[in-house]
Symmetry: C2
Subunit: 284 residues, 2 copies
């Protein structure tokens, strides 16, 4: 099996490593548009060969599109067009995007829609680029399959097998549920973390104080603020309505805290903290 | 050297373990007001003996007050009174509170003020109680000494030696700077994390979704929301003005994001994220 991975960053690069190492891919072809990243990926041997986009689509059995969400929508459609033109009936293309509605809508009526499987492996770190790729990134995490009934049974099976090799738990969801729930759980965490970094950088002019006073608590809360704009701008734009909705709720909750503290109302602050503590039962 | 530790929770219990294990304390006496915690601490052998408050003060060379900040202020004053009454000139008492102004003000004119050293070891986890105590918690972290010039040189030296055994870097600061900078760096992280937990629990009614969709990002951002109300209510109350000020700045930053997303303004969102990314240079 030849797996072609377009975008050898955190997700694509980590997939390349484990799919090869665990024997699922006999050959991994990599495509990397950025020349510096391409050289780094080659040097780190993330893929067997770094090739051009067309060669990758021509030679691969599975094509993994692991680029930011805006680009991914156009690229998946283009690859499905190429499948049709070359009568490549046995190939499968997948995306790994963090938002699903737009890509599902854009591909819906494509005559080769069955050869596309839309997935979101819920794994990652705040780092990006080929340097961020690592083995075992996906082990034990959830992988969402969006609108899987639109994929052919064969394509679906191929990709389920692939994620099984990556030790991911499949979860099936439609695209709009996915975008709603990831806004609520994942996207908001990034926005709160960006806002925290901006606040601290704004209030605390002395970087040494930040460094000295950052106990583990601040470091973990601000971790996601290191995340890359190229990835996150399109996610926030594509998931616009859900993200705005959850930001508004978040600002309301923040104001509840603010007002309870402003009123010196210990009982209300205690009630809010006790309420927040319920997260302990869900997240270990 | 006998070290008495009042409050065998995360901080007190972890100190007890390392001060004994590393030979600084020949004997560790522990005081624990909560009977369940006292039994647990005894069973885990966090201290050599669990004793009463007065016995602890009478028998210890160093007394560590490791209880929530409101209680700590009253307790340190009471211990200094006992030092005066019993002419215990060689004893030292310290606090480990996360806010400093109130305790520094309350003790300022005490005739035994020199025997008090006010410290804030910047280490911890989101867990509390004797179960949370662990070896090596303090290694490599910063410990703030507040208004150290009010302590006698002898008391100061004793406590600097103690924190040296815990492998902490001393940082000297006055109480009001401490409270300002910890509000900016540490306290705000807890409030944002509590608000995040409240938001997610409010929007996402299905706990299974939270569990499934919580990739590492959400877990780390929401981690501090597990923190204990008994500890955090008094901190937020005592550091009221600084905390309110930083919450207000935070809400402003959140609104900048909100409005840029609402306007579909990719460049503004990108600018905010790039700005937030500056935290990378400070926090590794």
């Amino acid at each position: 099996m030849t797996v072609g991975i377009i975008g050898l960053g955190l997700i694509g690069g980590s997939m390349a490593v484990d799919l090869k190492r665990r024997g699922f891919a006999g050959t991994v072809l990599g495509v990397e548009a950025d020349p510096v990243n391409a050289e780094a990926a080659a040097k780190m041997k993330l893929a067997d060969e770094i090739v051009g986009y067309e060669e990758c689509v021509d030679r691969s059995d599975i094509i993994v599109v692991a680029v930011p969400v805006g680009t991914a929508v156009r690229m998946v459609c283009d690859i499905l067009d190429r499948f049709r033109d070359t009568e490549a009936k046995d190939k499968t293309v997948i995306d790994v995007c963090s938002t699903k509605e737009q890509i599902i809508t854009a591909t819906h009526y494509h005559p080769c829609r069955g050869q596309f499987v839309s997935t979101h492996p819920m794994a990652g770190t705040e780092y990006s680029g080929p340097w961020a790729a690592m083995p075992n990134l996906f082990d034990g995490r959830a992988c969402i399959f969006a609108n899987v009934e639109e994929s052919s049974p064969k394509a679906r099976k191929t990709i389920e097998d692939m994620y099984d090799v990556l030790n991911m738990r499949p979860i099936y969801m439609n695209a709009s549920s996915h975008d709603l729930h990831t806004a609520y759980v994942s996207h908001i965490s990034h926005v709160t973390s960006f806002a925290l970094a901006l606040t601290v950088l704004d209030k605390e002019k002395d970087e040494k104080h930040i460094f000295d006073l950052a106990s583990g608590g601040f470091s973990s809360t601000v971790r996601l603020a290191k995340s890359n704009a190229d990835m996150w701008v399109p996610i926030l734009m594509q998931n616009h309505d859900n993200v705005l909705h959850v930001i508004d709720t978040y600002i309301e909750k923040m104001k509840l805290f603010r007002d309870a503290i402003a009123d010196f109302d210990e009982d209300r602050v205690r009630g809010l903290i006790n309420d927040a503590n319920r997260i302990k039962k869900i997240i270990r």
